[in-house]
């Protein structure tokens, strides 16, 4: 607590890691690129899991678990569809004291094992759809890592579904994309631009990739999650067929989709400030912390009794009754750790029938009547949730620019943000822009309206704007 967080305007990268470490969200592990997710960070992940899991289950998805190990030959089979994983793989060559006949790869993703199993499980249209998801750890050997944003091992959920026809599979990919949007916007209070990836930016194995792009405080984009319509690529590669209602053999249609612990990085870079983390109330394990201001046994007794009798059923709170720390120290600690609302209570407050509520998002403090405390706390938590989302939305709006020439594009890019620009749809323009500016097309937004324009690079006609940005 003696240390101070490095301010954002001094060193944004340092500010980020200071928050991760000082709010005790995560720590570096003894293995390069791996992280330890500490209880404060893990409770955020658990909340993300709960909120997404209940939405997935309500829409008919089931959880299961596939093994950590993938035979090396499986990845080679998939090589044409999923290029790029091989150099990222961690490989087990020895086990049980012996060299293995075939090396085992630690899953970078589970498609190959899953489709191998789907071949045993799918025979008839009666077996479809398979709407399966798993919560698991995966490993990708990244060269440059950053806590939560890019780590060698990370936690995620990966959904892999199989359907009897294209229409149903396409619907599924969009349904899950919508569930992600609800999770990220309504629970995490992070606004996203939704739409499709370009052919160059999509997952190589996919026909179409849907994405949700957030804009972080630094002005860089962060991909929050993706949902893929995979067509019959995997069912053909793994020779999975089913007998349709007409008795003919067909290849099922597939989707896959995932979000990762990276979301915690997005959370930090969307809402936090120079005092520390800010957790939206709906994502906080305990949205309220109570800090007593007391001296002597009588005051302690009165305040403890007050806390015990609070009508807060259903509102999770933490009563910080540590004797060894002073109130000011506690205030700072809970601000750093991002608890959205603080209740301060001392003997003078009680005498007046009041307590003090302090909002983490605005820093405002106000005296509040005990008589209506539950309603006030509930309303304030709602307000904080709404305000965090609105504030983030305004920031994204302020940092979204329409540019019509390549010069304007390059100039604006230096300020950061989302650049809405016309693009001809040609992969070579996309690639040249990316090479020359390090900005990529993050998303072709669903809600882009039709508008006559010219590609900022080649000046060929374009009817819709794409969203460009530099990204993490």
């Amino acid at each position: 607590m003696a240390q101070k967080i490095c301010p954002r305007d001094k060193d944004y990268g340092r500010w980020y890691t200071d928050i991760v470490q000082m709010a005790e969200l995560a720590d570096y592990s003894p293995v390069r690129g791996c992280m330890v997710i500490r209880p404060n960070g893990y409770s955020i992940w658990e909340k993300i899991q709960q909120e997404l899991d209940k939405r997935l289950k309500a829409t008919g998805h089931k959880n299961l678990y596939f093994p950590l190990f993938v035979p090396e030959s499986f990845l080679k089979k998939e090589a044409e569809h999923v290029e790029g994983f091989a150099p990222e793989c961690a490989v087990v060559t020895h086990a049980g004291g012996k060299q293995l006949e075939e090396p085992l790869v630690i899953r970078p993703t589970s498609e190959t094992v899953i489709w191998h199993m789907y071949k045993q499980w799918i025979h008839s249209w009666r077996d479809l759809p398979l709407l399966y998801n798993q919560w698991a750890n995966v490993v990708r050997w990244e060269m440059r890592t950053r806590l939560f944003l890019r780590t060698t091992e990370f936690l995620w959920q990966e959904g892999h579904t199989a359907h009897a026809n294209e229409e149903e599979a396409r619907k599924e990919a969009l349904l899950v994309h919508q569930l992600y949007k609800k999770l990220i916007e309504e629970v995490m209070a992070i606004p996203v631009v939704c739409g499709k990836k370009t052919q160059q930016e999509k997952f190589p194995g996919a026909v179409d990739t849907y994405t949700l792009e957030g804009l972080m405080q630094e002005g860089k984009a962060l991909q929050m999650g993706t949902s893929h319509y995979l067509g019959q690529t995997f069912s053909k590669a793994f020779e999975v067929t089913f007998q349709n209602k007409e008795g003919e053999l067909e290849f099922p249609y597939a989707t896959s989709w995932g979000v990762t612990t990276r979301l915690i990085g997005a959370l930090i870079m969307t809402h936090s400030d120079d005092q520390g983390l800010i957790i939206p109330p709906k994502l906080a394990e305990t949205p309220l912390v109570i800090v007593p201001i007391w001296r002597g046994e009588e005051e302690k007794k009165a305040i403890k009794e007050f806390v015990t009798n609070l009508p807060f059923d259903g509102i999770a709170f933490h009563f910080d009754d540590r004797e060894e720390e002073k109130p000011g120290y506690k205030f700072n600690e809970w601000e750093l750790k991002g608890i959205p609302l603080r209740l301060e209570v001392g003997p003078r407050d009680l005498a007046k029938g009041e307590v003090v509520l302090a909002r983490r998002d605005t820093g405002e403090k106000c005296a509040t009547s005990i008589a209506t405390l539950r309603q006030t706390v509930e309303k304030m938590l709602d307000d904080i949730q709404t305000n965090l989302f609105r504030r983030a939305q305004e920031r994204v709006k302020k940092n979204s620019h329409f540019v019509d020439t390549y010069t304007a594009f390059q100039e604006k890019l230096e300020e950061g943000g989302f650049l809405y620009a016309h693009w001809c749809g040609n992969g070579s323009c996309e690639q040249k822009i990316s090479e020359e500016t390090k900005a990529s097309i993050r998303v072709l937004p669903f809600d882009a309206h039709e508008e006559a324009g010219a590609c900022i690079y080649c000046k060929e006609p374009s009817s819709r704007r794409a969203v460009f940005a530099r990204a993490y």
Copy 2:
């Protein structure tokens, strides 16, 4: 469904794997010794997780996540305390396309990394206790594997706590042992004998190991979970110290404890029969399945309306309205899959104001008035839960034998079961008995009463009986 489960008395091992595979609990993966946990099996694991997790959190424990990889040198450091892991390890030697400077072991357990981190996190008595738990996958390269009971990769929770004094740490080890007992007996309906392991059978790094031993239908014991009081072994090995209230440096006292997906194997081998799995109501994702018996659109409409209006708020049920399967097929399927209670409803039942309830545990079917259906269903689910536990308890009782001579011991052992026998406390007798009979001391029960006797092996005096059995 055309296949039949192999009866228990014909081939117990085959019966077990038939249930695992035909009830779609798990399947063999393409990697030897690893399993795929299918949705029916995973939902049982999720229920175990929920039930244990809420008990752990209610007693102050927090979840977090440590990395999959352990530097090889860490395990060597721990070698004297945790012998026996090395030959079971899977080792990553290559990653990111290169050979690693130091090989990485896939965690067989996380003590070493955890205590490495505790060294950074523990400085003062204010930092204690650390009551941390993680839900994770671990890998132990087993030569002989069996679905759920012994697999190369399995899922578990591992708790690792640090305390300021011995008393508190010993209390913690016993507290978690009690939480396990509640989970296993009250939710899973599996009776266990609770107590301590002998010095020979305990975890090598522990001072004391507490265990919960179940007795499976086959007459073999299964260790359901363990909780260890570790003393200062790990804090000393990893040089973790804290400043106590008196300002002196001390080594913290530790515990560790875990249960694994093996519990699902115990569930199968405790309650199931030749028709398939039986899931206790408290552990079932859906304790009730509704099977309609209908022909024609009018009957379908009436029954669907009946189901929609059932006053079953809070009772999870599955309405099997598949058109393509006949009722008899559905009955068999849900019996195989272990759903505790089935409700059958047809137009004639409705006309009489009745439905039929069929219990999975006893096979009993009875007509029940619709007017009091909710109460009847709730009562029947309670009865099934109680009956499964009582039935298992009776079986354990019937197969628990007091033996007073080595000859009687060897004879009774062939029937299987728990053998309560006097033992002098000497490791060499214990080892000889184990070598000669393949039976080990499973547990020194907490509730063994004092009784003068003689060790069955050396005839030296003994004051309490130990529980011997052959085990999985």
